[in-house]
């Protein structure tokens, strides 16, 4: 139930690193005892800053094998994929690749396309935002973890270990017809960063020293403000009805979340960003930014700036750049079986697959592919018919035993929830989860 639990990122730790456990437990004890008085809360935060730093030092000090670092990237578009160009006709490792998957031929053995997976929703744009969560935002209040998306779910687990728990990006403006990919546990849609120049700056450009000092001072001021208002909130709590108390609980939880986030960020403030052999890129149209974004995410993973990233291909895709008439990505997705429009749609889809293939190759060449699970897909099945059934789903990397094309049961009653795949991905990431979204169990066949 929302509100009264300690932030779960302190509870679970990556896989087989038992020497982390003591320091994490210490964090919990400190936090539990510090729950009342203001001064010891301040102490808790200072301790938290120190504790977050400790595992990092311990890694080097111990000299032992570090825990296998796991990564996750999701790439998604809002309008689905034309079925016969995405799903192979046959199953199995040797299945022939249809037109839009041909760019992935050199990576055969490192990816799997899944047929007949979806979240069980009917039709339309109303459900495409559930791609990474499986839960409609309108049903979120009834679910224990709301409609949290897989990227946010995984990011909580590794918060503090890298500068950015998660990097949410989009190749262009997400205003009219966005993917609405990333959702927090509270049902807030996380807006993606839409300019490659900003992504670059966040990852690789250090602030000047005096600005860092000012940011640090601002953090301290914010924490003081939160202290002051926290007291008022507790007093208010005393006189509220039960239902209102549940509401204010959200506020109190929010305060704790912000304090923890500030604590983690302060720890990173003083550390310089990694130096990379690249210049700040120019912003541009979606077709221009998409390849750059793939490169930046690859760099972010290589430099361990983040372990979780999402890339949205938004509805503002500049279709004219594909050498076809500018009718808008949404316009082409509503091809209504018109051959000319379908051809245009295929070109837009192909472009995405070409650059996905390039990205995967890059990861493979830098040795990251086996530890990075890459998910490509959409919350829309067939954009023209507007269905949310049998979504396009492709998983690459992660060290899984890939099968090129896996066809899951089609009949009603035997269908497998897409969330089952996500549960498997989460477990592979190192989280001992019982369930994710509406999963009924992990996906048996993979890994």
């Amino acid at each position: 139930m929302n509100g009264s639990t300690v932030d779960q990122s302190t509870e679970k730790v990556a896989g087989n690193s038992s020497h982390f456990a003591p320091s994490v437990k210490k964090l919990r004890e400190v936090s539990m005892s510090a729950m009342g008085s203001r001064r010891s809360r301040r102490g808790f935060l200072e301790a938290a800053g120190a504790c977050v730093a400790l595992p990092w030092l311990e890694t080097f000090a111990m000299g032992a094998d570090p825990p296998a670092v796991r990564r996750f990237v999701c790439v998604a578009n809002p309008f689905g994929m034309i079925q016969d160009a995405f799903f192979p006709a046959e199953e199995g490792p040797a299945a022939a690749l249809p037109a839009n998957l041909v760019p992935l031929e050199p990576l055969r053995g490192s990816f799997t396309v899944f047929s007949n997976l979806d979240h069980g929703f009917g039709s339309g744009h109303g459900a495409t935002h559930t791609f990474l969560s499986g839960v409609l935002s309108s049903e979120a209040s009834g679910m224990p973890e709301g409609n949290i998306s897989l990227d946010q779910f995984l990011a909580r687990h590794v918060a503090g270990q890298t500068r950015f728990p998660v990097l949410n990006t989009a190749a262009g403006p997400v205003g009219g017809g966005g993917v609405e990919l990333s959702w927090t546990r509270n049902g807030v849609m996380v807006p993606p960063i839409q300019q490659v120049s900003r992504v670059f700056k966040l990852l690789f450009v250090d602030e000047p020293a005096e600005r860092t000092a000012r940011i640090g001072a601002a953090y301290d001021q914010q924490v003081s403000i939160l202290d002051a208002v926290n007291g008022q909130a507790r007093d208010m709590n005393g006189r509220l009805s039960a239902r209102d108390r549940r509401k204010l609980d959200q506020y109190l939880t929010a305060i704790r979340e912000v304090e923890q986030a500030i604590g983690r960020e302060k720890a990173w403030l003083a550390r310089p960003r990694p130096q990379v052999d690249a210049h700040e890129p120019k912003d541009g149209s979606v077709s221009q930014q998409l390849p750059i974004l793939f490169d930046l995410v690859a760099l972010a993973l290589e430099t361990d700036s983040t372990r979780v990233a999402t890339i949205e291909v938004p509805g503002s895709f500049d279709t004219a750049a594909m050498g076809i008439e500018e009718k808008g990505y949404h316009g082409y997705s509503h091809h209504g079986k018109d051959p000319a429009l379908m051809e245009g749609m295929r070109k837009v889809e192909r472009y995405q697959m070409v650059h996905l293939a390039r990205f995967l190759t890059k990861l493979r060449d830098s040795g990251l592919l086996d530890t990075t699970q890459v998910l490509f897909g959409s919350g829309m099945g067939d954009g023209s018919a507007h269905t949310n059934k049998s979504l396009p789903v492709l998983v690459a990397g992660g060290g899984h035993a890939h099968r090129t094309h896996l066809r899951l049961p089609e009949e009603q009653g035997k269908r497998v929830p897409l969330c089952n795949l996500y549960l498997s991905l989460a477990r592979r990431f190192g989280i001992e989860a019982e369930a994710f979204g509406k999963s009924t169990g992990p996906l048996g066949d993979l890994a």
């Binding site: 139930m1 009917g122 744009h125 009219g176 049902g187 909130a233 509220l240 986030a261 949404h330 018109d338």
Partner: protein
């Protein structure tokens, strides 16, 4: 999966389900059963049980199974029965009907039973502690601190508020997350920085700018500069705007103004060659991208280099010359022809913002049109001297030769920027916190207490403010220890205290302590309903005197609040929530005219003007269903096929209920040609909300229309009777735009299959009537695709009344007048109360509708009646 794990998973799923139920139920108590009156029982027996008994179960519904009392188990079923009887949808039109008196009596009796039962359960419907939504936060800050946040909205990055029934006021749904709280911290920091000014009055400066105003651009402007500098060797008398798109930044102010404030901007400009030697048809294939009958327009926008890396030349150029999100339109002028005239405005600029100019209705340079034009016409339109100059000059590219042609352009001769203009110092925002006396650090507590009292909209105790006072003392001490002089330390510290006041739960949430609201809580209800902002002095004074408990007092204040300009926010927020106006533009239409003629802002404004006027003249709500008038500008008149020639005579004429700046969206400038006019509609295809392009566009998907979507919208928002969702395994209707069948044909199954018919009998007909309008609201008699034309068939039957076109469909809507009134009242109450409506609210709603009926259901009256209602004074 092991059996142990299966059990765990099953347990988790059960727990999830149970939790869901518990939430829905709220309390375990089932309440006392309420017996049904004989009027209800006799109506049900004679009119319903023939089809809806246990044996028949028509459409899966058995009323026999509900028994003869309202209990916790049967309440939901009986409510559905009540709705069907009340709306007249049952018995179906082809069956014998009860008399109106019988129907009414049964409705009242059944409602009474449901309400009695509902009231016997512990109240589950209280409004939950409500966070200020984005609009309310912004408006509250603006009114509290006398700040204009439009130039740079600090809430721009706030996540969208969750909407319930379209409205962002539902307490349960408005969530506070860590993410949002961080945004509030940042916003408070930004806002306090803008509001507090301990520094001395900034010097007012006048920048007198001469052409060329920018020296960075390439292309035609580069050619113009070089022509004067290198060829003619004379000071450049003006700098021209040759085409639409792109901006001319005022280069001398490139880094933006150093201080935020009011700036007086004067521009001496003239329009040239409006009738210029462009063959419009030839250049633009007959579209109206330029129109010699229209004045040339000049627009002023903001731009900024804040956040741009000074070493990145490309980024700088892009930021100065291109459109960027976050930039604001400040003013529009119709530029006089051939006579350089001073155009003036007074605008607020934030620090770091610079003014830049653009020519929104100039010729377009896209697709190399201007280059081609120059190439093709060089030898016919230029004289020998000009041609020679072209050949000689080496400015790169042919297109700069455009300077010699006589295409429509605006010449800017001089610009003056004066500011910041501060009539008083410190500014109003500072005085809103500190009063008129100089800040005395010893009085920090008093300052915080009085500011908190206004910010938190209620009296405040010293104890409540104590933690914030402590914060200020600690911050002062820390700063002094760091070597800051005491005065500065105190000033920085009090700013922190003000931020804390703005992040406190008492600011961010509207608390309602008891079942009956006290004066301040009622005052907030009224002001947030009608202004989306905090109560003003007068309202607070009446609250303090506990004067708002009577309906009469609430009505008086509500009338005063409506008459105030701040109620414009109510018009916007209510239309957003009720008609879903926010959806307009989310599915970008594929029709170029939508963007070329800027139809979206125009259609939005039409609906806004229509509703606002109706509200302020207290007109009848039937106008919303069908009217003989609407509001159009030039582009919209053309879109609707109306005669603009006659209408434009009335440009600038006053319209009762509307202000001049409502009708003329030119910001701080003066552009009569952009104005809207109230027009009389002679044919009844348009008229009312269903004829307005905004509604027709937001109920389509930008490409094609769906009768089901539009029909469902009408049922939900006009009749307050949202249809049930489709059954789970309905296959999707595959759109087929190859043109062989119409959508009506493809929906044939709705009519053939009785299971579908039960709902689609209601949903489809309004949609069919509206098929006469395409996805952006243009009239169409045929679907034309791939050279094939199929006739649109907009006929149907609705509630037993057949109709042939949208005009007679609207007549059958007017017959449902009362149901529409009820729907409107419900929407208003959902917006105002911030919670779901329940059965127990029905008597109050009925009361409002009955009283409104007495006067013909007038819009202003209905809003006031909602404010008078007891519902507004209870949780």
């Amino acid at each position: 999966m092991t059996s142990a794990r299966t059990t765990i998973v099953a347990a988790v799923l059960c727990a999830v389900a149970a939790r869901g139920d518990a939430r829905a139920d709220g309390h375990a108590s089932a309440g006392r059963p309420a017996a049904l009156d004989t009027t209800v029982k006799s109506l049900v027996t004679s009119r319903c049980l023939a089809c809806h008994d246990d044996a028949g179960r028509e459409a899966g519904v058995s009323i026999e199974a509900l028994g003869a009392t309202v209990t916790a188990d049967t309440a939901a079923g009986w409510l559905r029965v009540l709705e069907q009887i009340e709306r007249g949808t049952m018995p179906p039109p082809d069956e014998p009907q009860p008399t109106a008196a019988e129907r009414h009596a049964a409705t009242i009796a059944l409602e009474e039973a449901l309400v009695t039962h509902a009231r016997s359960r512990p109240a589950d419907r209280e409004a939950v502690l409500r966070r200020l939504n984005r609009t309310e936060y912004r408006r509250t800050i603006e009114d509290l601190l006398q700040l204009d946040l439009a130039a740079d909205d600090p809430t721009r990055d706030f996540p969208d508020d969750t909407r319930t029934h379209g409205f962002a006021t539902n307490g349960e749904a408005l969530v506070t997350s860590g993410f949002l709280l961080r945004q509030h911290l940042r916003a408070a920091d930004d806002i306090v920085g803008r509001a507090i000014h301990f520094e001395p009055r900034p010097e007012q400066r006048t920048h007198a700018l001469r052409p060329p105003f920018e020296k960075m651009s390439l292309g035609i402007n580069y050619g113009e500069r070089e022509h004067y500098a290198k060829k003619l060797r004379q000071p450049q008398p003006y700098q021209s705007l040759f085409y639409r798109g792109g901006f001319m930044p005022l280069g001398a102010l490139q880094q933006g103004v150093p201080e935020a404030g009011w700036y007086a901007i004067r521009i001496r400009a003239e329009a040239k060659f409006r009738d210029g030697d462009i063959d419009h048809k030839k250049m633009f294939g007959g579209t109206s991208l330029t129109d010699p009958s229209q004045p040339l327009r000049l627009e002023l926008h903001t731009g900024t280099l804040v956040g741009i890396d000074p070493a990145n030349k490309d980024a700088i150029t892009e930021a100065l010359f291109s459109a960027r999100s976050g930039d604001r339109h400040l003013a529009t002028w119709d530029v006089p022809d051939d006579v350089p005239t001073w155009l003036e405005c007074r605008v607020w600029l934030e620090a770091g913002q610079l003014p830049r100019l653009t020519f929104p209705n100039g010729p377009t340079g896209s697709n190399y049109r201007l280059d081609t034009y120059v190439k093709e016409n060089k030898y016919t339109l230029l004289d020998k001297l000009q041609l020679a100059a072209c050949e000689e000059a080496d400015y790169g590219g042919d297109w700069f030769h455009l300077i010699f042609f006589e295409t429509p352009r605006i010449r800017i001769h001089e610009v003056e920027v004066t500011g910041p203009v501060n009539e008083s110092w410190p500014p109003p925002s500072h005085r809103a916190i500190f009063g008129t006396e100089r800040y005395d650090p010893a009085a920090a507590g008093d300052v915080l207490r009085s500011f908190a009292a206004r910010a938190w909209r209620r009296p405040v105790t010293a104890a409540e403010v104590e933690p914030i006072e402590q914060l200020v003392r600690a911050a002062t001490a820390a700063a002094e220890k760091n070597g800051q002089p005491p005065r500065e330390a105190a000033e920085a510290a009090i700013a922190e205290g003000v931020k804390a006041v703005l992040c406190a739960p008492a600011f961010l949430y509207r608390e309602e302590r008891g079942e009956r609201l006290d004066g301040h809580e009622i005052a907030s209800r009224l002001s947030y309903f009608l202004w989306s902002s905090l109560p003003d002095e007068q309202l607070l004074a009446r609250a303090a005197a506990d004067d708002l408990a009577t309906p009469q007092a609430r009505r008086e204040e509500a009338a005063r609040l409506l008459a105030d300009r701040r109620s414009d926010t109510f018009v916007d927020e209510f239309l957003d929530g009720w008609l879903k106006m926010r959806k307009l533009g989310t599915m970008a239409p594929v029709f170029p005219v939508y963007f070329d003629d800027q139809l979206e802002p125009a259609m939005r404004r039409e609906t806004r003007l229509f509703f606002k006027r109706l509200l302020h003249v207290n007109g009848p709500i039937s106008d919303l269903l069908d009217s003989d008038y609407t509001f159009v500008n030039r582009a919209l008149a053309k879109h609707y096929g109306l005669d603009w020639g006659a209408a434009r005579e009335r440009l600038g004429a006053a319209v009762a209920g509307l202000e001049a700046d409502d009708l003329q969206p030119d910001g701080a400038g003066a552009a009569g040609s952009t104005g809207f006019v109230q027009v009389k509609l002679t044919d009844r295809r348009r008229g009312g909300l269903l004829g307005q392009a905004s509604v027709l566009t937001l109920t389509a998907n930008g490409v094609d229309t769906s009768p089901v979507i539009r029909g469902a919208w009408v049922l939900e928002n006009i009749l307050g009777a949202p249809p049930s969702p489709p059954p789970p395994n309905v296959p999707v209707v595959e759109p087929d735009i190859r043109g062989t069948t119409t959508i009506r044909d493809r929906l044939q199954k709705h009519r053939d299959n009785p299971a579908c018919l039960s709902c689609h009998r209601q949903i489809d007909p309004p949609g069919f009537a509206l098929e006469s309008f395409d996805a952006i609201g243009r009239w169409r008699g045929h679907y034309v695709t791939n050279g094939k034309a199929l006739a649109v068939d907009p006929s149907g039957e609705f509630n037993g009344r057949p109709f042939k076109y949208v005009s007679d469909f609207k007549a059958s809507l007017l017959a449902q007048h009362q149901q529409f009134a009820r729907c409107l009242v419900e929407k208003l109450l959902i917006h105002a109360l911030g919670r779901e409506l329940t059965v127990a609210d029905r008597p109050a709603i009925r009361g409002i509708v009955t009283r409104a009926a007495a006067d013909g259901y007038r819009l202003g009256d209905i809003v006031l009646l909602c404010c008078e209602s007891d519902l507004l004074a209870r949780k």
